[in-house]
Point group: C2
Chain length 206, copies 2
């Protein structure tokens, strides 16, 4: 590139990025992938995403968690919980996660993402081995018994419409890369399982 040229010159349309994801991964010393958590409300998605982030960050890995707290209140504040809005919400999260990954960040997302076709759409945005679907498998009975936010009670009372598992379907992943039995395994066991997977896949160094 000719840094001496003025921007008025014709040869200044060199804004094809020279810094690419591979350069960022080299600087960071790890690959950037997406860990896509899916599961019922109360199945442990956010808890686990943040616990894994804690562990990875302590290893110097660049991480970021996308969840309802930072997405639904910002980028997706115009969306509700109808099927169409859920689909658009997941599409946008997929696109943001792609940008974060491109920026070299190992991205963790924690959304119920109940529909198979939406998760497949996000998977299709990414190259093979970049999209790691993690199914937080906890039965509705357990999630509802737990009901830490009191949402199931409200949904049963009809105070929340279109609540996944009660009045809106949850479609189980058929072939998730990782399945966690979050009703019976400890947080630490789940964290260990995911970190080991990332090491085995060469995403992070041992």
């Amino acid at each position: 590139m000719n840094q001496k040229s003025t921007i008025t010159n014709e040869n200044t349309v060199w804004h094809e990025p020279t810094i690419r994801r591979i350069d960022r991964e080299k600087l960071n010393n790890h690959k950037s992938v997406i860990l896509w958590f899916t599961g019922l409300s109360g199945s442990g998605k956010s808890t686990l995403a943040h616990a894994i982030e804690d562990t990875l960050f302590a290893k110097g890995i660049r991480t970021y968690v996308l969840d309802g707290d930072n997405v639904r209140r910002g980028l997706c504040q115009d969306l509700g919980f109808s099927d169409a809005d859920r689909t658009e919400n997941i599409r946008r999260v997929g696109e943001i996660s792609r940008l974060l990954m491109d920026a070299g960040v190992l991205t963790l997302t924690a959304f119920i993402s109940p529909f198979s076709k939406d998760r497949q759409l996000v998977r299709d945005l990414h190259n093979k081995d970049e999209f790691i679907e993690i199914y937080c498998n906890s039965s509705l009975v357990v999630c509802e018994q737990r009901d830490v936010k009191g949402l199931y009670r409200k949904a049963r009372a009809g105070d929340i419409a279109e609540f996944t598992g009660i009045s809106s379907p949850y479609e189980e992943p058929k072939k998730p890369e990782i399945e966690l039995d979050t009703a019976n395994q400890t947080v630490q066991d789940c964290v260990n399982k995911v970190v080991l997977y990332l090491e085995e896949q060469g995403v992070i160094k041992r």
Copy 2:
């Protein structure tokens, strides 16, 4: 946090993030801010954003450029160029840049962003000193003479509707943090000016 607890326990709603932006900035050894380039088509926004990224990345700074190439074709593929869609496009870019910043990334955006109120909306999303507006000031005459993508010619011929500067307004920034005379300064001069500003503001180390 009690990593020995199972996720079924009530005390597992500890998904308040423990890793915060300040931790990421410490790991990265620089602050994360947003460099918001604004100006007419052909005024040098993308050219400069990428040239500055090259310089910063060589210093080990975590950077990312958001522009039409990676936003309009992805997250904002559902949007056109009406006033309402331009506003929504800028709102979303503002929200993504906030997420990237929160992830510790020094973010550069290159969008015409012609409306003052939209830029103000994005500015209001950020804390003071985090949003650095950079006005690429090049007259319409110069941009149109240059017309590297042939867009002005098409707009004059009526083949492109709502083209900024021709059939849609551009509202000049009143008080940008940095103004670059991109019709007369070299790319290197502009890069130096911005990098010096970041050093003086303590965003990056000298």
